[in-house]
Symmetry: C2
Amino acid sequence: MDSAAQLAEIVRAVTNEAWDDVRAHIDGIDDAAVANVLEATPPRVRGELWLLLDVRRAAGVLHRLNEAARAEFVETMDAGQLAALADELDTDDLAFVLRRLPDAMTEALMEAMSAADRARVEAVLPYPEDTAGGIMNTDAVAVRPWHSIELVLRYLRRRQTLPDGTDNLFVVNAEGGYVGALPLARLLTADPSSAARDVMDTQVEAVPVSMGDALVARRFAEQDWVSAPVIDDAGALVGRITVDDVVDVIIEDADEALLAQAGLETDEETFTPVLISARRRAVWLGVNLITAFLAAAVINLFEETIAEVIALAVLMPIVASMGGIAGTQTLTLVIRGMALGQIASANLGWFLNRELLVAALNGLLWATLVALGAAVAFQDALLGCVIAAAMAINILVAAVSGSLLPSLLSALGIDPAIAGGVVLTTVTDVAGFFTFLGLATLAYG
Amino acid sequence: MDSAAQLAEIVRAVTNEAWDDVRAHIDGIDDAAVANVLEATPPRVRGELWLLLDVRRAAGVLHRLNEAARAEFVETMDAGQLAALADELDTDDLAFVLRRLPDAMTEALMEAMSAADRARVEAVLPYPEDTAGGIMNTDAVAVRPWHSIELVLRYLRRRQTLPDGTDNLFVVNAEGGYVGALPLARLLTADPSSAARDVMDTQVEAVPVSMGDALVARRFAEQDWVSAPVIDDAGALVGRITVDDVVDVIIEDADEALLAQAGLETDEETFTPVLISARRRAVWLGVNLITAFLAAAVINLFEETIAEVIALAVLMPIVASMGGIAGTQTLTLVIRGMALGQIASANLGWFLNRELLVAALNGLLWATLVALGAAVAFQDALLGCVIAAAMAINILVAAVSGSLLPSLLSALGIDPAIAGGVVLTTVTDVAGFFTFLGLATLAYG
């Protein structure tokens, strides 16, 4: 049964309050599917579904939920319940939970946890969430360079299990310093009498514990890593990052980029409570309203001209919106290029050059077509000339603003992914209205 | 040296035509970094840099480039050069290259390739690129259920190497049917006298060869897989997918989503040639122009009213743009929700309900504030009432359109991620202008 059908079944059972059916459905699907269902239902319903999960299930589902939903459920649990969960959670998920609890709860939970859980989470809590230290696990299996492969194999057989997603053991020297990685694949194919130092891979670069998570993700993607060792400033092995955590980072960052453009916050999910959602969106609407007022103020300067040539009121949104559309394309390319490390001050000049050429070509084309259309529709050749000039100018302005705004905003400490679109459309609206109505005032004045 | 600094160094050396320096820089950075540099330079420069790479380097770099750049370089090579590369490329990258060559070239290359390369690429060519079959490799290592662990270990030691990213061997029965996965971690910790069938993991579900790549990526992300077996309709093992390919799919899909909103095509890169870029953007500008004309036509209906109350021309963009902003937020959430499988017809009603509530709250708030502002600025209480009503209505219209458009567009076979924004702003612009100017005509008429 595909997920849309599953969802429909569960929704139907919930609406009919057939809780036995609901329980049966939930038991029949895996943790990831349950997480999906929880995210796809409004808070009231979701709360009921959560109560149907036992502790073990709850842990598996909790770590798969998006941030907002996770925080929501964590808030409903007491220290004892959380401590029971703690054992089932990976270190980074446990740290995530702890960071979001009110202080009193955090202390209570730390006390209720087992010593082992407490030790492993304390190893990562000092590091910010969006760094290598914040997404690593402390369960790396380490051996010494002088250990023979046969010794390592015997050790592993005694262990009976390896941590999830272990594709490398790590080789550390007597001081705990990281020296190389020992892939399981090599363990299986190497001569058992050779030493770890002869078999290990020294090319695998270690990730500094302070590296930003987006950069870590990029290294994983570029180098096709499955796991990577994490070292502190002294070069000592402190943990490992596995590709599944990196995949989560990539997905979350992509989500964030998509939402940011629309002014939605990163923990806005499908069913964020109405009041919280309304309040956040009110802020965004407010900011955009200010920019709309700026544009209105510009139009206001030319009231007389509009009164004289009413056709201007009909055509002015066309000029403004074309600039906004063209500028947004440039802006999107620049923001993406900067995120990929492909656009920096070194080649911004080349890029701007290219955007101006593209804008000139398009400006010429559309200015001409729109001018003809306007001149014919309003039987006014002068109007055609005015709108042609305004459109061409505005498309060029859009290319320049789109290219330069991100650097400018970054320099001011503002995230271009969030603010870029708003500022750009303000610029193109103001420039568009000003140019069009200004030229009209000169032409008809 | 970080990548921005590297890029700056190489750009400087290229501008000074200090080709020895350029070569030295390129030799000093890894394949992924070279790929980044190539993507960050205009076509002319990039072509010169490409010529500095030997065959082995070229293969490593080629597979790391984005689609557009890859296609560009492939076109510059002859069959002999491509055949030399073929040996170094993974099966899915080789298939990618073959698919994009002109037919004559494809035949020439197939003949020039080694028999082994030809066999492995022919195994995957039948499958569409955006399916499991299109991203899989055919180098899965398989064993029989009755083989003892000791036998498997001896076999691996004789092999001397395992394919990259192997974390599982796969267990197939005498007919070639997939029965389970044998994680390397288990191989190392299991009792050597046990049989593969006793140690293997039968919970790992196999991926059908026809499954879409986005869905494959989602399964990998949900289940934290590192590799997955691929089976055909008969249940026979035909290949395996590794997480690094899935990471590439996720990154490409995220890129596509970001670009689609701005009307940019998926293979638009930072330095797409000017003419190609201009032509594509011309199409997008043209489409948006049509929608702008629709809005202009609506304004045109009310020329007389605007002539009477010029303040309308000043305020009307505010009403339209607020609707567009609010509607875009709803639209973004719906498109994301649908992609995640969290919004389907089953819960769309709940979602619409929630969006209407949020819209009502915000509509009330901003309609009131804007009304007061307008009434004071223009000393006209009636104007305030008109704009209040129009804004409130338009924000509600935005919530409804944003919620329902994606399903409507999908049903018509149109991709909501591309067309959704354009259609939505058309609706909110037309509705905004019509409501505002229409109410004004009634009020002042």
